[in-house]
Amino acid sequence: MQTQEQEIIIYRARRILTMNASNPVAEYVAVRGDRVLGAGNLEELSGWGDFKLDDRFADKILAPGFVEGHSHTMEGALWSYVYCGFYDRTDPDGKVWPGLKSGEEILARLAARDRELQNEHAPISGWALDPIQYGGKSFCRADFDTVSGERPLGVLHASGHLMNVNTKALEMAGLLRLGINHSRVPLGDDGLPTGELKGPDAMMLVNNHVGFDRALLACDEQGLWQFARLCVRTGTTTATDLANPLPPESVDSMLRVTGERDFPTRIVSAKRFAAMKPADVVDSARQLRKQSSNQLRLGTVKVVLDGSMQGFTARLRQPGYFNGAPNGLWYVSPEQLQELYELALLHDVQVHIHNNGDEATDLALDMMERALRKHPHPDHRFTLQHTQMADAAQYRRMKKLGFCANVFANHHYFWGDQHLLKTVGPERAKRMNGCRTALREGVPLAIHSDAPVTQLGPLFTAWCAANRQTKSGKTIGADERISVAEALYAITLGASYTLKMDGEIGSIEIGKRADMAVLDDDPFEARPEDLKDVGVWGVVQGGRVFSAETI
């Protein structure tokens, strides 16, 4: 989109932090079309010819647009539901929803939605419920029946893997009956389900009744826009949608929406490997790659090896879960994974590998070692996603095998207290999400939010990695903290590298995309503990200016 005729705009800023090691700080940045023409002083930049000087960022700090290496665009769609979380969270409109500190407050917010709804049969849908926060109180259908006995009501938990519903919803799903025998559907003294549904299968039965249509969540045009608005508010200019079935109709709709003139975010969407042959997913990714546009990048594959830590479904090596819970679940076999790796290496398709437990990390590494013997690849950049429990030896193998690590830094904040007591215990909680070890062992590092599992916000994620503080204020594993500069690198060039886009985005540098985060203060000068509070004015994305205020 760049031609010689396009106007050159030179932005003046209080400071420009380029992340370009050979030109780290500047005062001016020249933009032509969607590209950076250069960063430097006015004299240097004026050599490009006529320009328009734009002073609007004169008191702002410009940094490379942040890159969220592991998120899901579903976060956008969720905001059409009632936010029921314990912590304050900002919606796409910029409204801060106060965290709900008691069961009564949750019910009151749901009741407010009940009063707003016109259609008397419309469901009430909530999300981000986190029962652990309320002293172990478990919610039951009677609680939610006080909100409505007429409408079906469902509240998705923060983890996304559990749901609470009212009696009406159970009834509509055919679950209000005796004789249900399911380890993840607890029953009350009356022999009927309590309304807590702990497995995806039970949730599937109620989803449609309580307003959670999965297809809609996966690709909803309005949701995609809402997601992009959250990106602008958090300084994010490129974000991943890391696991989408990507049927043709979704691809068409995503291409259309991201291609709209004012769409402010570059989306990288990976095809999820599930219920298909490795050859088919690799073939599909190669076809999708051809459909990539500037604002929608396709052609990578996501594979899920195990479950989650807090759900006790991650695969751990011995000595296993701290509370004695049985080991988690596998979602692929070694044979399938090796075949996927081999075909992907052969056809130059990048693979992102979900692995939470260290046994899953072992599987990811072992199969790669075999696959690389058959199909060596000089720069595959397969990325271990989450890779929460990896130890130093595993990081050393990652380095040898050419893996990148995208570490779930936010997890420590939201679930660290539980990791200490229940999932992995004190020692492994210290090494968990070991950013310092990754860097020490030379593994290319990114850090992420996994939004909507936790809130989108790269500066917050950087804060998590730099402080390793839990919600209760404990610091777990101080030796794994990284510096502010390292954390900022991880959310810009680090994440770009894991997407094979570091030549295009991640720094403010001549020839790269004009993607910038516009900040109120210099994050490099922030104390680690203040990193999350650096104000975000908005972004420049592809040379276009988007303010959080008006987006």
Binding site: E171, M172, G174, L175, R177, G179, I180, N181, H182, S183, R184, V185, G199, D201, A202, M204, L205, N208, A274, A275, M276, K277, D280, P326, N327, L329, W330, Y331, V332, S333, P334, E335, E359, D362, L363
Partner: protein, 318 residues
Amino acid sequence: MSGDALNTQPTMPVTVVGGYLGAGKTTLVNHLLRQANGLRLAILVNDFGDLPIDADLIENQDENVISISGGCVCCSFGSDLIGALIDLRNLEPRPDHLLIEASGVALPGAIAESVSLLQDFKMDSIVVLADAETVQQRSREKYFSDTINRQLTSADLIVLNKCDLPGRDDLSKTETWLRNDFPNAACLCTQRAELPLCLLTEKDVLGSVIETRINARTTPFSYHPGYVTSVLEFPKGRDPNAIAAVLAHEDSGLLRAKGHIEGADGEIYTVQTVGRRSEVRRSPVGVGSVGRVVLIAPDWHVAPAELADALGGRVHIR
């Protein structure tokens, strides 16, 4: 979608077929389809990656459904088993029996739990196949040992398949290990997963075996050498729960038993066992062959006459 409470159709019995990759699950499914003989089997598979149905059985195929001659059907469910089950209960004509082929890494017990969430379906049994040559070694390997053990633990029937491959000593060691470590399952050996359909479907046990044996007076199990059957007869007033408990006990050596018994209260009860799993429920109105129970075993561990004596009945057909 109509509410489940309004649904008056009978429940569809479900067999979950599990086992690690290469154990013979797909072979078994095809073998069962070849015996369907009018029984409308529905098959749910994880996906159509490697076509799960032999080409000569396929009548028609579209993206997610394969039609099979004789009214059978095979559907893929991807990651949405519940959605596929909901679709299936609306299928016309309604299948008589559902087989769910679990993926090699799935836990059949978890699939059975999912099935229990839908009231139109009823778990019949979990069959787990094991490769006679590799299962014991696999059960100790890195990564999947606990998964394989959990698969086997959930089984009602363990089918030790490809038992022609290991030597006699090795096979016998594997069998002993299975019987000791997984006492809740009945265990049997096959070569090419050639399991008689009557072991897996309740309808066939009564419908086919009794009719065939009573009407034609054929001698033992003509179409499946390697199994023995017998029919016991009970006067009314015997306790169906007590009978079920004995038939499902490990010492009975039975793979499957089914029949209808008139209890002391004058009600007719259907007694059914698969391995160690047993079920007693009120029979539908108008069932035939009341007072008779069919037994199937790989070989008589306890003579039918002894079982009959112990339970206060007699052998009707040897």
